[in-house]
Symmetry: C2
Subunit: 323 residues, 2 copies
C-alpha cells in the first residue's frame, strides 16, 4: 500500500516536471517541437527511441546560450586585458591594433580585420599557464559588467536555454557546447553557469607546450592557433571530440550552419534549432546584415527544411534570469 | 519493516560488490593500493573525498588495457589493409615501405623508421570518410586473429583492467582512454570492449575535411597529422579534451610518463599506476629495452615516487577473459 502510494506520487512528480520544464517558453510551435522531439526520442519502446548514450546534443554558445552584443564577451575580456597589460608593453603605444584600443577606439582597432583580432587574442590568451589563464578569466568574470545591462556577463545566459539544458539532462541527454569561442575561456564558467562540465566544452584553441618549472609540470599557452571551431570546423570538432553525430543541434548564426547540416544528415529523428534575435527591447534584434552573429544562409535553410526557428520576441516569456 | 529489510539487503549487496570487484587481481600491495584509493576518494565526509564530477581517470590503451605484442594491433590492421589495397596501387610494387610489406617482411619495411610508419598509416587511414573508416576497422576486428593466441584482437583486453574500469565506474569515476593509438581506430571498439564511450577516447588523429557529396555532408580523413597523443602530447591531450586534471592515471611505458607526472602534480590524493609486463608464459615479459612499450625512465620514477607498479605475473590471477 505504502509502496504503491509512493509510486503514484513519484509518477505524478515526473509528469508535473515535464509539464513545466520550460516555464520561460511561451506555448507555441517552437516549444512544442522541443517537447515532441524529447518525448519521441526518450520514450522506451517507441519507434524513435534513442538509447541514452546516443542522446548527444550540441549548442553554440555566443548568441545561443548567452548574449553576444554589442561585442563578443570574450573580446570584451581581451580588451580589458590589453588595458591591464599595457604598462608591461610600452611598445603597444606605437603599434596597431593596440594604439587604437588603448584610446578606447574598438572600431578603429578592428579595422585590421582578422589579423588585428588575432593579435589581440594572442597578446591576451598566450604566455601563461593554463591554470593562470583560468584564474584570470574567473577574476574578470567576477568583476566585469556588461555595458548595457550593468550585470555580470554570466547573468546574460538565456533563461529559456538554461531550462532547455536542464530539461534535456533530466531526460538522459548529454549537452555539449560547440562554439567558435575559446575553449579555455568558456570552461572557466560553463559548469557553474550552464551545468556543462569542462569535458563537454568544445571550442577554438591555441597550441600548448608541456614543460617542467621547478620540477613541476605545467602547460603553457602558446601564441599559435591549434583549431578554429567555426563553420566547417564545427562538425570537425564534433567528430574530433565526441566521435559520434549529435541528434540535436542549436545555433544562432551562419557559423552554425555546417553543424546543423551534419546533425540533420544522420539517421532517425533529429532536431535542428536556431535562436533568432528579434527582440530589440529585451535583448537585440539582428540577423542577415549583422557583423556579429550574422544569420542569413542558415535562416533560409532552416525555413526551407522546417528546422525550428525560435523567435525570441514571440517564443520567450523571459530572456534573462534577472528581471 | 519491509523497507528497512530492503535497505539492509541493498547495503549488503554494495559491500559484497566492493569485496570482489577485482576477482582477477591477487591480494597484494597493488590491489590494496587501488581499493584504498577508491575508498578514500569516494567516501563522503572523508578528508580525501572528491566530488564525482572531478573523479576523472585516464588510461593508456596499448599494453595497459589490451596487449601490444608482437606489434601494435593498429599496425597489424594497417599491414592487412596494405595487402587488401595493393591491387589498387601497382606503384607499391616498387616503393618502400610497401615492397617489403607485401613480401611479408615487416622488419624490412620498418627500417625506414618513423617516416616509413607514417607512410603506412597514411596509406591506410586516409582518403575515406570517417564512417567508411569505422566500418573498415569493425570488419577487420570481426575477422582478424592475433598470431600468437589465435583469438580476436579485442579478446586480448586484460580481464583485471576490465574489472578495474567497472569498479571505478561503479564508484562514480569517469574513465578516459588517453593513448598514442589512433582515436578513430580505438573508438570502433572502445565502447563494446571497455564500456568507454567515444567521447571519452582521446588519441592521435589526422586532419579532416568537411565536404558535401550529393548534397550530404561528409568528413573526409586527410593524409596529414593533426595531433600525436604521446609523451608530452598526453597531458596536452588531457587539457584539450577534458580540461581538468585526472586523479588517477594508468600506463605501461615511457610514453605515459608525462601523463603520470601531470596527474601526480595535482592537489589531494592521486593514484599513478604502471602495468609491468613480467609474464612471458601468459603474456610477454619486456620493459627497458623493448622497442614496443619500452618502460625505463617511468619505471625508475615510479619506484622513486612510490607509484603503484603492477607486476603482471604476481598481481594478476588471470590475464585474459578466455582460459
Amino acid at each position: 500500500m505504502a509502496a504503491a502510494l509512493m509510486c503514484v506520487l513519484t509518477l505524478a512528480t515526473v509528469v508535473a516536471r515535464a509539464a513545466d520544464a520550460l516555464p520561460s517558453w511561451n506555448d507555441g510551435a517552437a516549444k512544442q517541437s522541443i517537447v515532441d522531439f524529447v518525448k519521441r526520442v526518450a520514450t522506451k519502446g517507441g519507434k524513435d527511441f534513442v538509447p541514452p548514450a546516443e542522446r548527444i546534443t550540441v549548442f553554440d554558445n555566443d548568441g545561443t546560450l548567452w548574449a553576444e552584443q554589442p561585442i563578443y564577451f570574450q573580446l570584451a575580456f581581451a580588451l580589458d586585458r590589453v588595458k591591464a597589460l599595457a604598462p608591461q608593453h610600452p611598445e603597444w603605444k606605437e603599434k596597431e591594433p593596440f594604439v587604437s584600443l588603448l584610446k578606447g577606439d574598438v572600431k578603429g582597432a578592428l579595422v585590421g580585420g582578422e589579423k588585428a583580432l588575432l593579435e589581440i587574442v594572442m597578446a591576451t590568451h598566450a604566455g601563461m599557464t593554463t591554470e593562470e589563464f583560468e584564474k584570470i578569466v574567473k577574476d574578470w568574470l567576477a568583476t566585469a559588467k556588461h555595458p548595457k545591462f550593468k550585470r555580470s556577463y554570466t547573468e546574460l545566459a538565456y533563461k529559456p536555454m538554461l531550462e532547455l539544458l536542464a530539461y534535456l539532462r533530466g531526460n538522459g541527454f548529454k549537452p555539449f557546447i560547440v562554439s567558435g569561442g575559446g575553449v579555455e575561456f568558456m570552461r572557466a564558467f560553463a559548469e557553474k553557469v550552464y551545468g556543462i562540465p569542462s569535458e563537454q566544452v568544445i571550442g577554438s584553441a591555441g597550441k600548448q607546450k608541456f614543460e617542467m618549472r621547478d620540477g613541476k609540470p605545467v602547460l603553457v599557452k602558446l601564441a599559435e592557433i591549434d583549431f578554429i571551431d567555426d563553420k566547417e570546423g564545427k562538425p570537425i570538432g564534433i567528430q574530433k571530440f565526441i566521435g559520434r553525430r549529435p541528434i540535436l543541434a542549436f545555433g544562432n548564426s551562419d557559423g552554425d550552419l555546417q553543424m546543423l547540416q551534419w546533425t540533420a544528415a544522420g539517421n532517425g529523428v533529429r532536431f535542428m534549432g536556431l535562436v533568432h534575435h528579434t527582440d530589440a527591447d529585451r535583448e537585440w534584434a539582428y540577423d542577415r546584415d549583422s557583423s556579429i552573429g550574422g544569420l542569413n544562409k542558415a535562416l533560409d535553410e532552416a525555413k526551407a527544411k522546417y528546422w525550428t526557428v525560435v523567435d525570441m520576441k514571440k517564443d520567450w516569456k523571459r530572456v534573462f534570469s534577472f528581471k
